[in-house]
């Protein structure tokens, strides 16, 4: 009888952030749905109570069904039968529970059968599911595809496809190909319009497609003959009912084994185009990738939480030299650092989710009426910060969940290396988070612009203006000092005016920005609830050491030293 929502007090803390009142009121637009739908909230409190109670259902399914299934799912995985995917028994049981509970389409509007939840509780649900089974979190999180259809497809397609999500349809985004991984501009899967049938037909191969045999798939394809770059690509919806796509193989992976990673062959597969031709990659997929990165953020936080729980439990139970190992400094230091890192990336996750909520809600409102100048300004403000925070979130959360899983296994000692404890699975599952949906290296590429144009610095300065309790003042002083170091070292690197030199140190600079941002977020959490003072203190201590290290490396490095590294 485990409930992964109720047993984690941090979730309720983030769900009840002060900005939620704005988010909910904008999202529910004067609670007009209450007269149209029997499950729509009456007011703000009622909406918040709905999120709380629905997250409790997800917590229950995660704790009572998904977590107990996880080991078996990891062991058996999905099967390929007659060119279609058969989920592992446990995966199917998890999915049945989700469908039965009407949880899919969580953020879709009610007119399409959705629950009309903001991004914050949706992201929270993904965190909860990931803690139970990180592989299943992909099948859960791919409902993001519904958002892409909702944002960009025609009204006719929305009416046709969107209600199917709440009825239980699963989704996939078919982007990657053998020669188009990080560089999606190289996608070659061909789409041509068949004049006779009046439909688009897809032909070609996709590789590494998560949940590739889904009911509804978004497929990136080349519509413009002879084109080579992103401008020749469009996005399509393929419906499994058309039965014109085969799964050629399921990859055998290191982790997240329950999530089928497929190689797909499309042969004259009829599909419907989303929005306009040529905007497939440059607009629609870019938007989808941002929510996918938020998804990996939530997955990483869930994995970190799972790894921390396992370590804490084991360290309390395992006795050596006459006492539980948690009493030894080497172990409790690791645990406290793990706790602080988890609190830090969680705070970053929900901060980013709130930014995304704010601007996406405005985008939806803007489709119905003209926004006022103030509203437009606010939308731009949050959109800018959502774009700025997303790569830092993806970078830190995925790297940290790996570090935390590593440390958790270390605390288990030899036992952790055996299949008997779940940490070895968590450790393997964590490894994909800093690879897919853009590697850590690519997150740095996305973030470094914000260092160069001082956007991060600007946000940090805004954070600095928030008053904190006197007992937190010492932390603020440290952060202020670190910020001035950040400004100084950034100027030093950029003053060289050498692209390669900047790229070489980009990760170090982005990390410094991330440490300061997370430090501020944790201090602000402590400002709202002093139970976070400990994590804020420990994190900022760690941040100071890491920043000092990065600065020292840069300070002792001149542009000509790069030649020693070149391969």
């Amino acid at each position: 009888m485990a409930n992964y929502y109720n047993d984690n007090e941090h979730l309720k803390f983030h769900l009840n952030h002060p900005l939620m009142k704005r988010i909910v009121e904008l999202k529910e637009d004067n609670f007009k749905d209450k007269n149209l739908y029997d499950y729509a909230p009456l007011d703000f409190e009622d909406a918040m109570d709905n999120y709380d109670k629905v997250l409790e259902i997800i917590g229950e399914i995660s704790g009572d069904i998904m977590a107990p299934n996880a080991e078996e799912v990891d062991h058996f995985g999905p099967e390929l039968i007659h060119n279609h995917v058969k989920y592992a028994r446990g995966t199917q049981e998890n999915l049945d529970a989700i469908i039965q509970s009407k949880l899919f389409g969580m953020s879709l509007p009610r007119e399409y059968g959705g629950l009309n939840f903001p991004i914050v509780p949706y992201v929270m649900s993904a965190e909860i599911v990931s803690r139970a089974d990180a592989g299943f979190a992909n099948i859960w999180g791919l409902q993001d595809c519904a958002e892409t259809i909702h944002e960009f497809a025609s009204e006719e397609m929305k009416t046709k496809y969107l209600p199917r999500f709440n009825e239980g349809a699963t989704a996939a985004m078919d982007l990657t190909e053998p020669d188009a991984g990080s560089d999606l501009q190289a996608v070659m899967l061909k789409a041509h319009f068949d004049e006779k049938q009046g439909v688009w037909l897809l032909n070609g191969v996709k590789r590494f497609i998560t949940n590739g045999d889904a009911d509804i798939s978004l497929v990136l394809a080349r519509t413009e003959d002879g084109s080579q770059d992103a401008r020749g690509l469009s996005l399509f919806v393929y419906d499994k009912k058309k039965d014109a796509m085969k799964v050629r193989r399921i990859e055998n992976k290191l982790g997240i084994k329950g999530s089928p990673t497929c190689e797909l062959v499309f042969k004259d597969a009829p599909a419907e185009i989303i929005g306009d031709r040529k905007f497939g990659l440059i607009t629609y997929v870019m938007s989808l990738m941002n929510s996918a990165r938020l998804g990996v953020g939530s997955q990483s936080v869930g994995i970190a939480e799972a790894a921390y729980h396992e370590a804490l439990k084991y360290a309390n139970e395992r006795a050596q030299f006459g006492k539980p190992i948690i009493k030894f400094p080497a172990v409790y230091e690791m645990l406290s650092n793990m706790r602080a890192k988890t609190d830090g990336i969680r705070s970053m996750l929900y901060e980013t989710a709130r930014y995304v909520d704010m601007y996406k809600i405005y985008e939806q409102i803007a489709k119905k009426r003209k926004l006022s100048a103030d509203e437009r300004k606010e939308m731009k403000y949050y959109q800018k910060y959502a774009d700025l925070f997303t790569p830092v979130l993806k970078l830190f959360s995925s790297e940290y969940c790996n570090q935390i899983a590593y440390d958790s296994l270390q605390i288990h000692g030899g036992t952790g290396y055996m299949k008997d404890f779940s940490i070895e699975r968590i450790f393997r599952d964590a490894r994909i988070t800093n690879i897919y949906e853009g590697t850590s290296q690519l997150q740095v590429v996305a973030a470094i612009r914000g260092v160069g144009n001082k956007s991060y610095l600007k946000r940090i300065k805004e954070f600095e203006e928030i008053e904190v309790l006197p007992e937190l003042d010492y932390l603020k002083k440290i952060l202020q000092k670190l910020t001035s170091h950040f400004a100084g070292i950034t100027a030093k690197v950029y003053d060289e005016n050498d692209e390669e030199y900047i790229d070489f140190h980009a990760r170090r600079l982005v990390e410094i920005a991330g440490y300061i941002l997370i430090g501020y977020l944790l201090m602000h959490d402590a400002n709202l609830d002093l139970k976070y003072r400990k994590s804020a203190d420990i994190f900022i201590r760690m941040a100071r050491a890491e920043i000092t290290r990065n600065i020292s490396y840069i300070n002792n490095f001149s542009p000509r030293d790069i030649s020693d590294f070149k391969m």
Partner: protein, 290 residues
């Protein structure tokens, strides 16, 4: 006429997670110290009813529960999972009822809800473990009963096919309707709450609960009549007060003793197959196993 299913359910103290203060000094259950939950086998019964409904589109499920006002929570929990209506039987005069008095009250409610096709109940409740109430209701309503049900197999025309769990096997029975079925814990676990139904029914209230709320709240009941839960008293059931509560309960608790398990003898055994074989034989011959 739709297929009508009644589910008899009980709110019970959670005796599975018993702490030090679970019992009062006088030997009665300290209900305040234990969480009130949906009796586990009644959840199996609800799932059984929901599976019948899945195969019989348009079927309606009514949860019937007897207890204090807070037992309305059981009805809401049922509605969140797919039940359609709920009846709370509540009255101080029911207090102290044993199985005979309880089944009398429930049978009156069941008769009042007639016509119906199926009554489903959990085999037994975890606070009393008697397994008597279901069968007694069937007798009082004068309908056939199938106990220890494990699975709803399906319809054969108008008849229900039901698999029973027996001590040394299973059997499949067929019964005309109406019939009362008690469901065993080995049956399918109850489905998880449905998010949309939860948001729809979380405001459902009985009259007693409604009185405790502010008047602003009453407005929503005008637009949403399904939020009003039925509440029946002794008077509503036209029950004979002599057959209710303590008056109607021949079962009297004589004494309650605390039993402390003590270790009497111990057995040392080796790790060989022969030793384990010997142990198994002795456990079987002493009827601990088998």
């Amino acid at each position: 006429m739709s297929f009508k299913i009644l589910v008899l359910a009980k709110q019970v103290p959670d005796t599975r997670n018993v702490g030090k203060d679970a019992m009062k000094a006088d030997g009665t259950v300290n209900r305040a110290a234990l969480a009130a939950i949906f009796n586990p086998e009644d959840l199996n019964a609800l799932e059984f009813a929901l599976r019948v409904k899945d195969q019989k589109p348009g079927a309606e499920i009514t949860i019937v529960t007897m207890g204090p006002p807070r037992a309305a929570e059981i009805i809401r929990e049922g509605l969140y999972r797919g039940a359609d209506h709920g009846v709370l039987i509540t009255d101080r005069k029911f207090a102290g009822s044993d199985t005979l008095a309880t089944s009398y009250a429930l049978s009156l409610a069941v008769k009042k809800l007639a016509p119906f096709n199926l009554v489903v109940a959990g085999r037994q409740a975890i606070d009393g473990d008697t397994a008597q109430v279901g069968p007694q209701v069937a007798e009082k309503v004068n309908i056939p009963q199938i106990t220890y049900a494990e699975e709803f197999v399906g319809f054969n025309g108008d008849k229900l096919q039901i698999k029973r769990r027996l001590e040394r096997g299973v059997e499949v029975l067929e019964s005309p309707c109406p019939v009362l079925v008690t469901v065993h814990s080995s049956a399918a676990a109850c489905r998880v709450r449905n998010a949309k139904l939860l948001m729809k029914y979380k405001h459902a209230k009985t009259d007693i609960e409604l009185q405790e709320l502010s008047e602003d709240y009453w407005q929503i009941f005008e637009n949403r009549p399904y939020l009003k839960l039925i509440q029946w008293s002794v008077e509503d059931l036209q029950a004979d007060e002599e057959l209710l509560g303590l008056n109607g309960s021949p079962t009297k608790v004589k004494t309650i003793e605390n039993v402390v398990f003590t270790q009497k003898d111990s057995l040392k055994m080796g790790a060989s197959d022969g030793e384990i074989n010997k142990l198994m034989k002795s456990l079987i011959s002493s009827h601990v196993l088998g």
